[in-house]
Amino acid sequence: MILDRVKSPAFQTIKQVSIPKIESIMLSNGIPVHYISIGEQPVVKLEISFDAGNWYEKQNGVSLFVAKMLGEGTKKYSSSQISAFFDQYGAFIEFGHGLDRANITVYGLTKYLPTLLPMVKEILENAVFPEDELEKFKKIQLQTLEVNAGKTSFIANKVFRKKVFGDNHSYGNSLDEEAIQAINRDTLLDFYQSFWLGKKPRIFLSGKITESEVNLLEDFFGKNDVQSIVKDISLNKDEYNLIEKSVLIEKEDSIQSSIRMGKQMMTRKHPDYFKMLVLNETLGGYFGSRLMSNIREEKGLTYGISSNIAPFSKAGYFVIGTDVKRENTQQTIDEIYKEINILQRELIKDGELEVVKNYMIGSFAGSLNTPFDILDRYKVILSEELSLDFYDCYIQNIQAITAEMVLEVANQHLAIDSLVEIVVGGK
């Protein structure tokens, strides 16, 4: 028989993905621990996550500095000793910081976990933010900022967030020189004491682990009294109205423009969330998306263009981003509007909707490959206090979206007038 290379082989649509279940326990002091043990490699990831992100700060940059400087000195150990300690065991320590939360994360071989935990505890409970390390850290931050200021994409991202959230929303904040200069040791200590020290974190443990690793957590983190922080601390987040639709930041020496377009958008709890996910995917969420097909694959205007939905605890944003040749800037913006317009006027054809949904479901299934990925999914559910079956229903929720729904949310949430337009470079 001659092989038919034209016809695609038969395939199955994924109806269900079984996400391995996690275990949850509570330490004596009420700290929740969520863990999963799968995989063959003898590795572990420990993440201790606090409500200590941008949202909780009164002064721009403080939450970031606190998180990033936790390992720069404790009552017992210097910054160098701490780095040397983790390096000695081939472990990696990261100090994560985001808009809502901040964390200490340690990756290492499982056999070293008992050795690493005392130092993690020391950092959590006895960070001192030494004056000299703060000065060095500020200097590094200032200079890094200067390097980034030379990148059109960096500036565009920063201005975009500011425009979308407004001046008085901590989600719109990013580090600038003034903010860095204004930080001092007292403000760091104050934030550390208010949001880290003695506060109740969530602990996530994943990798190839046994009961004995889980039990260690009780010994190290379960004994001290901890308090929950008031989650909805409101920090004068004024209502925000879009005043200026387009912003052009000229950079004469730049050979490309970075374009960012978008607006404030819903959180995961919004009833239209899954509709928006499918709309976003169709417009610019994957390689076969309309923006990629038109602007890269048809016209060759860019190396890449994408759209994204970024949901956080209190709000989120939708953004379209690309870098293009200066002289193609306006053409690209016009094409982006054209593609949004089409989605507002014409129903997606069944074939395309099928590709989009199958792709989303396949990549969801494919994103659950490692113990770290799986626990990260649960982390979102637990931290955002979503329903525990959020991801179990994920595929059904995607499958349920119709072309009519996509058209409806394209009109409702992507009105052209509501989108800000940031260009850094030139037109």
Partner: protein, 411 residues
Amino acid sequence: MISYDYFILDNGLKVYVHQDYSTPIAAVNIIYNVGSRDEEEHKTGFAHLFEHLMFGGSKNIPSYDTPLQKVGGENNAFTSPDITNYYITLPAVNIETAFWLESDRMLSLSFDQKVLDVQQKVVIEEFKQRYLNQPYGDVWLKLRPLAYQVHPYKWATIGKEIAHIEDAVMDDVRSFFYKHYLPNNAILVVAGPISVEEVKQLAKKWFEPIPAGKLSPRNLPQEPIQTASRFLEVTAKVPLDAIYKVYHTQGRHDVGYNAVDLASDILGRSKSSRLYEKLVKEQPIFNSINAYVTSSLDPGLMILQGNLNKGISIEEGDAAIQEVLNDFLKNPVSEEELTKVKNQAESTLVFSEVELLNRAMNLAFASNAGDVEYANLESSKIQAVTVDDISQQANRILTKENCSTMYYRAN
């Protein structure tokens, strides 16, 4: 340890199967033994441009991406000086789609002029976005020709200049395809919940009918031993002065490579490394500094690079690095320091095997480099390195004659 089964098709395509039934996802990785080192000097950037064209439709399938997305699959590719690598992850139940797509583009591309026209523009925008419109983005465009005078590593994979990408024509595409994209110049790795028998049956069905071709031997001019230090100074619109010092080392699988790699870790891998500890922490000369090796298959480079703090001259920074090096060369590394970098290397290796796709790639790279067992021998090679090996390699490599230095000045 990455387990595998192996067979070879009549046309010379090597196939590895790594079974893992813990996931519903399969990974399919194809490596072609061609990279930018195989280009002609007046047509650089071509291997990478060609990689883009591989997504522009093949003989029987007008679109590569859509059918894959339709079955829930994702794909990407990358080109390096040594290789071009294509990979797919998809639900294992739909694995035949991957065989169908990959075999058709190995059989023949569509050679569509419009695809070439568009991808030339796309790659030129990529060139600008990644190498020209970024502070320090062009560093490697300048460093490569300084360090390599003869070997094709002297040009970057993106290409020496934009004009080379503009000048590519369809005849170049055709001849490149028939010269390099042959089953006997490729390795297929399939990983996931799938039996060897099933892979065998699919591989025979889809790949075996593709005819083998004649491979021309790779006669690359090898870089002569550098006998005198080299120096380049450039000025660019960046905020901080930077310094780059590069030294010729051995290739990825040559004797002594692991010792050199660990030596670079001791010097500048992490915050407890010598350069960082001495020149960022103790004396605030650098804003950032690190050391690493290129891991290329032909003899590669060790790189020491740092951004200077304001108010410190590049010359001072250079001298400070040299002082750290002198101390490193004169005094033996302690066992404790060696254990540290071994633990780091070991840990990195184990973490690299957590992802299914990475395991598939590790096998593909190792086999392409000459022996699939390289993937599983790495750990013992790391452990075997001694304090004496480090000192011997460091003294051989970190000499002034073997060094090319670039001062990258802020204007």
